[in-house]
């Protein structure tokens, strides 16, 4: 399982077929990550009603693949984080065995815990009275030490060997944080899947269709919502030009905005609301003048 080739060999026993373009590729990990046939089939297997149990072959494969030393192969597993977390959270209330999904999520959590040495991730919010590389305050500099607001954006990670239900949101949230750190390498289809699940989790305005599918609101505590909103920000405003992703992200953000209004979650209202307004402004041609355009006046002079 340590090499891409053996990894693909095992996968071929799980999927109906592995295209030769992948198995004979010069960069098999990359092909595995980006091949649309494979990802479509894996995605549909993960969405199968019986997926995610402890003895599920595909979960086993994802778990093993994530433990291979090849970082490229780890990316292949991360590509499915949206579906795994998405399906997992929507099935919690069904009281089914989800040990397969849980094993993968715990592996991601453990990976991140080791990578960070359990330390929290924090961000400084500077006080502009002190100079920075981007500005120099006018007037005499205050002598006192720079006052920084230290914001913890991801708290300390404790090791978790099992999925304790009260830590579930945190463990899934950390898996999403890990996904976010690699998001620039993720295929668009994976991000679209994430946006679609955000829509489902939020279940803000239930359509008849959603009711028929018995989709229900998933509790969205901040530890889950915060990494989701970062991913969503990327999907909406990151440098990509996929219209489909943009639409999916826009719809997901609208749903999450309605959901945060419903939950009266102040921080979430501020975050999703600002994305909503930015999106609206971005589509207004009056506000998006190209300042790099050359002079278009009728008199062409030197």
């Amino acid at each position: 399982m340590s090499s891409p080739t053996s990894c693909i060999r095992t996968l071929s026993s799980i999927l109906s077929s592995v295209p030769s373009s992948v198995s004979s590729s010069s960069n098999p990990s990359f092909s595995l990550l980006h091949d649309p046939t494979i990802s479509a089939e894996i995605s549909s297997l993960l969405r199968h009603p019986d997926s995610g149990s402890g003895d599920n072959n595909l979960c086993r494969w994802l778990y093993d693949t994530f433990h291979s030393p090849d970082p490229e192969l780890k990316l292949v597993v991360l590509r499915y984080v949206p579906i795994i977390t998405g399906v997992y959270l929507t099935r919690i209330a069904l009281r089914k065995s989800l040990a397969g999904f849980e094993a993968i999520l715990l592996a991601l959590y453990a990976h991140e815990t080791t990578a960070r040495d359990g330390q929290p991730v924090s961000v400084n919010v500077p006080d502009l009275s002190q100079p920075s590389i981007y500005h120099d305050p006018k007037g005499p500099a205050k002598n006192k030490a720079t006052e920084l607001n230290l914001a913890v954006i991801s708290p300390t990670l404790e090791p978790h060997g099992t999925m304790r239900s009260s830590r579930r949101a945190r463990i899934v949230g950390v898996a999403l944080e890990l996904y976010y750190t690699k998001i620039s390498q993720m295929p668009v289809s994976s991000k679209i899947e994430f946006c679609e699940f955000c829509d489902i989790w939020a279940a803000s305005q239930k359509t008849e269709e959603a009711k028929a599918k018995k989709e229900r609101m998933i509790p969205l505590p901040w530890e889950l919502l915060q990494p989701s909103l970062r991913i969503l920000g990327h999907c909406l405003l990151g440098s990509h030009n996929s219209k489909e992703l943009l639409e999916a992200a826009s719809s997901a953000n609208k749903s999450l905005y309605h959901r945060s209004l419903h939950d009266i979650d102040a921080k979430a209202i501020l975050a999703t609301g600002s994305l909503l307004r930015i999106e609206k402004m971005a589509s207004d041609p009056k506000l998006n003048v190209d300042h790099t355009e050359i002079d278009m006046s009728n008199v062409l002079s030197l």
Binding site: H258, A271, S274, I294, S297
Partner: protein, 1018 residues
């Protein structure tokens, strides 16, 4: 070096050299003080390309060649070129008589404004001499007109200052304007009224009013007028924001200049009735908006699209209908050249152009390239531009400037030869700039063409070469003095375009590096352009998802703050832009605020956001919008009281009383405090009434809040009847909320607690189980509720099993409340030794927690933590039930170390005393309990004990006991002991029927008492 200088001094030419240098100096001085005649000045109006463009104002003459695109032929300010049109700067009349230097009849503020314009030109352009005429005599000395104008301006300034001072005593109204909504004014404190301005007649020769805020008791003052009509009047005008419009001599300022705006509206209002929308004129807004010119220029074209009734200055010039080439004083239409290009005859087109406009090949190619680009023929543009050897042209530009700058840095022992070299160098510098501008524009045009063709990598390469070339030509960086504005324009555009191209090309790492290179090095960009790049970079850092290294430490000045990751860098940049907005250096851009809002809310730093919102000038947001944002910020930081205070303002009947978000937030905050609950009921009810249409989906949330507020209000209700009514209402609301949202875990939980408190234990059990199912057991409070309900049903063993299951699902640090519960369950099952074990376990956990968790821990469960005090107190209670008095005292002492004044402890002490009653400590016991009651008036157990102890003092104390016990029952209607003792009091007093009722209640409750109060979960 030194030896050659020595040689110079000793040479026989030394004296001569000195004299010539001195003369050169004199000449130079003289030339900068040149006296112009009106005829001479008129030659410098931009039509002759070889002459600099000059402009006169109050007799001072300035070289405005660097603003050629505006002052030159076809530019928006061409009227000012080659003449002194001082009056037009304030009158806005740019035709015939209007273009005069006479200021006759202008008010002192207007004259002040003209002088202000002159200061602007001194700051921004080169002063080259004086115009002989009205303001300077033939000797170049100021005339009485100039002195008079300056004195009048000074008087105007003085009066304005005085007016400002007087008016500062009465705060101006806040105001805002939008094209869609028209204008409005308001007061944050007090009421808006129109009032006559004291010095206005002296200043402007006319009456005018302003809008100021008056408190209620000032409203009786004479001369105040209500503002309503004014608002409607102003909404009819068409005002485009970056301009002032002129109606006669009245002007309307920009939204950015708020003090002025109110004044402007008042003037506007007066003229509005007679306002005829056609003969309008626009002139540029006050100086601060004038610079940088390109931005304003651009805004004109936007406003033209928005509103047709307004003519811009550019229209006055009646621009040529078709495209034209213009160079060396000749203009020709582009039509026949276009025809040649359409046939693919580039050579022919070029030679035709060269011939007719006497251009060299590069010049002609650049013009052709621009033409093709403008016509959208980017491929053809590229073919044309490929004909210029740009790279070699750039190379040819470098060395001479290098030597030039070297010679400039020489010492001032400059000789004749050096001085003449300087002149030649300056000449060549200008030549070079002209050539450089042409070449760089060509390369930039190529980059833009490639961009249009989607060839981003190649485009980025060309763009990079523009900037590299600038770097080589100006090794010391570029500054205002060195670079002429057209060249600067190309440089600015290239700087802004390059990172965009790199992003489009997918070269993110390079884009990141370029952004930093651009922002950390001086490119002499104007403020708006710089802020745009900063914003684009911040957005890129926030959303690219790229793991980039933080900026290197080498780039920074000593002691400056260096962000250490993408998010930090983005927040820093956005804050820096916001600061520039606050300082008025750059224009307000709402998207900057939104990006900051996103970033800071993700970091849970909403107080920083509040600060930014508070610093914003009023009018940028609608006030209620701003209040609501502020309330969300406060609430996001847990400052609910502050949030509620703000919401009360925005929900005021005169503001936006039906804003659903604000109503819900206010109701939520109120639902958490029994004393605010009644107010919350009002908000929630309004929310329910307004949850219609697009907000229908919030109906469930609104009903839920109504239910919660009613339930909370019931808690403090003093009448039984009212309480039961409120409780019924609460239940009804929660039920309707549930029917709308059958899977909403919150509602299910709240109904569970509601039923549990009503001792409807079977229904409560159903909801508690459903809650655990639906949340997958992720919520601690669900487990606790279930265990407590089971304990109330006297199913202690099951309750303990539930608690154990919950412990399995819970991380170590969150186990405190469960362990406490477990210990109490052990006590109830009469297994005190196991209870003591559990308490020990809990104690170890609590103490470890205290040590291990630094201030960094921001866990959501933090508030749920069991305090060490509670453990000692629990142990004390346990020991006292075992009559281990020694241990009790140890525990009480430990507990007192944690919390010196505590009702609970006094209560326990009271109990200790009670056990020693025989030893005559009855009084002490009582006083302990009374003290406990004083410390915490809502502490029920002490009240019950007092009620139990008092009857022992004889029948005289019975009424007091009865009152105390009734009070206890008001706070906690389901307190079994209180009912029991009240029954005993009634019995002792001989009221047997009442006694029976009470005792019956006590016995019924005996079977439904949970080990901890249900309220402890919430």
């Amino acid at each position: 070096m030194a030896s050659s200088a020595q040689k110079f001094i000793t040479s026989s030419f030394f004296g001569l050299t000195l004299i010539v240098a001195f003369m050169a100096f004199l000449l130079k001085f003289k030339s900068s003080q040149k006296l112009f005649s009106a005829e001479e000045l008129s030659l410098h109006n931009g039509t002759d390309e070889s002459l600099p463009i000059l402009l006169g104002i109050l007799g001072s003459v300035f070289d405005v060649t660097k603003g050629k695109s505006h002052y030159g032929v076809g530019g928006g300010y061409h009227h000012f070129a080659g003449r002194d049109a001082s009056r037009a700067f304030v009158s806005g009349n740019f035709t015939g008589d209007g273009l005069t230097d006479s200021l006759r009849g202008l008010s002192s503020t207007e004259v002040h404004s003209v002088v202000g314009w002159r200061d602007f030109y001194f700051k921004s352009y080169k002063f080259v001499g004086k115009l002989v005429g009205r303001y300077y005599d033939s000797q170049g000395n100021p005339t009485k007109y100039l002195k008079g104008a300056e004195a009048k301006a000074a008087r105007g300034a003085q009066l304005m200052e005085k007016q400002k001072e007087m008016e500062a005593k009465q705060p101006s109204c806040s105001s805002r304007w939008s094209q869609d909504d028209g204008g409005e004014v308001w007061c944050d404190n007090g009421f808006p009224r129109l009032v006559q301005r004291p010095f206005e007649i002296a200043l402007t020769g006319k009456m005018s009013r302003r809008c100021a805020c008056y408190s209620e008791d000032q409203l009786g003052q004479p001369g105040l007028e209500v503002v309503y009509g004014f608002l409607q009047g102003s909404a009819q005008g068409r005002l485009n924001l970056p301009f002032i419009m002129a109606f006669g001599d009245h002007s309307i300022s920009t939204i950015y200049d708020l003090g002025f705006l109110i004044e402007a509206w008042c003037t506007f209002f007066q003229d509005c009735r007679s306002f005829n929308p056609t003969p309008t004129k626009i002139r540029q807004c006050p100086m601060q908006c004038f610079d940088p010119i390109p931005t304003i220029q651009f805004s004109i074209s936007v406003s033209l699209n928005q509103s047709h009734s307004i003519q811009t200055m550019a229209d006055d010039d009646s621009p040529p209908q078709g495209r034209q080439f213009s160079a060396n004083g000749t203009s020709i239409p582009t039509a026949d050249v276009e025809a040649k290009l359409d046939k693919g005859n580039i050579q022919e087109a070029e030679s035709s152009l060269r011939e007719r406009l006497s251009l060299n090949s590069e010049e002609a190619r650049t013009l052709l390239g621009r033409l093709e680009y403008q016509r959208g023929n980017v491929e053809s543009a590229l073919r044309v531009l490929d004909g210029i050897d740009l790279q070699s042209a750039i190379q040819g530009l470098q060395p001479s400037v290098m030597t030039n700058s070297y010679s400039n840095s020489n010492s001032n022992s400059s000789s004749l030869s050096s001085s003449s070299y300087d002149n030649a160098g300056a000449n060549r510098d200008s030549q070079n700039q002209k050539a450089a501008k042409l070449v760089l524009e060509g390369v930039y045009l190529k980059a833009k063409s490639l961009q249009k063709l989607g060839k981003f990598t190649e485009a980025a390469k060309d763009c990079t070469s523009v900037l590299d070339a600038v770097g080589k030509i100006f090794p010391q960086g570029i500054s205002d003095a060195q670079v002429e504005s057209p060249l600067q324009e190309t440089v600015s555009k290239a700087v802004e375009l390059l990172p965009e191209l790199l992003k489009l090309a997918g070269n993110y790492q390079e884009a990141m590096a370029t952004y930093r290179r651009v922002l950390l090095n001086p490119w002499n960009l104007d403020n708006e352009c710089f802020a745009r790049i900063q914003k684009a970079f911040a957005v890129f850092l926030l959303h690219s998802g790229l793991e980039a290294d933080p900026p290197s430490l080498g780039a920074q000045a000593e002691g400056a703050y260096v962000p250490k990751n993408n998010l930090e860098e983005a927040i820093l940049l956005l804050l820096v832009i916001m600061q520039k907005i606050h300082q008025g250096v750059v224009q307000w851009d709402p998207s900057v605020m939104d990006h900051l809002m996103y970033a800071l809310s993700l970091c849970s730093q909403t107080p920083v956001l509040s600060k930014q919102l508070e610093e914003l000038k009023p009018g940028l947001f609608h006030r209620t919008e701003r209040w609501n944002f502020l309330a969300l910020c406060c609430s996001g930081a847990g400052q609910n009281k502050a949030a509620l205070n703000i919401l009360r303002k925005s929900l005021h009947i005169n503001e936006k009383p039906n804003d659903l978000t604000a109503l819900l937030l206010a109701a939520k905050i109120c639902s958490e405090d029994p004393h605010l609950a009644a107010e919350g009921v009002g908000y929630a009810q309004r929310a329910v009434d307004n949850a219609k249409g697009v907000d229908e989906h919030l109906k469930g949330a609104c009903l839920r809040m109504l239910g919660l507020c009613l339930g909370k209000q019931a808690k403090v209700s003093s009448s039984d009847f009212e309480r039961s009514q409120l409780q019924n209402g609460s239940l009804k609301s929660l039920d309707s909320a549930l029917s709308l949202e059958q899977d909403n875990p919150d509602i299910i939980f709240e109904l569970g607690v509601h039923y549990a408190e009503q001792r409807n234990l079977n229904t409560a059990l159903h909801f508690a189980k459903k809650y655990i199912d639906i949340t997958g057991g992720s919520e601690l409070k669900g487990w606790r509720l279930l265990a407590l309900i089971l304990s109330a049903q006297q199913r202690f063993a099951e309750a303990e099993t539930v608690t154990d299951a919950a412990l399995d699902e819970t991380g170590k640090w969150e186990q405190g409340p469960l362990l406490r519960l477990k210990a109490k369950l052990k006590v109830s099952q009469l297994r005190p030794m196991e209870a003591i074990d559990t308490y020990r376990h809990l104690l170890a956990l609590v103490q470890a927690q205290r040590k291990a968790l630094g201030p960094m821990k921001t866990d959501s469960q933090v508030d749920d933590k069991v305090k060490e005090f509670e453990v000692w107190y629990g142990l004390a209670t346990l020991y006292s039930s075992l009559s281990h008095w020694k241990d009790v005292e140890v525990c009480v002492q430990k507990a007192r170390e944690m919390k010196q004044y505590s009702a609970e402890l006094l209560h326990t002490e009271g109990k200790i005393c009670c056990m020693h009653e025989e030893r005559g400590e009855f009084q002490e016991a009582l006083s302990s309990h009374i003290n406990a009651g004083l410390l915490d008036p809502l502490f029920v157990p002490s009240k019950v004990r007092i009620g139990a102890l008092l009857p022992k003092m004889g029948s005289i104390a019975l009424p007091v006991a009865r009152t105390v016990l009734s009070d206890a029952l008001r706070i906690e209607p389901t307190n079994r002991k209180a009912w029991y003792h009240l029954g005993m009091v009634h019995k002792a007093d001989g009221r047997l029927a009442e006694a029976v009722d009470c005792l019956q209640a006590a016995s019924m409750l005996e079977d439904s008492d949970p080990v901890e109060n249900f309220r402890s979960i919430l």
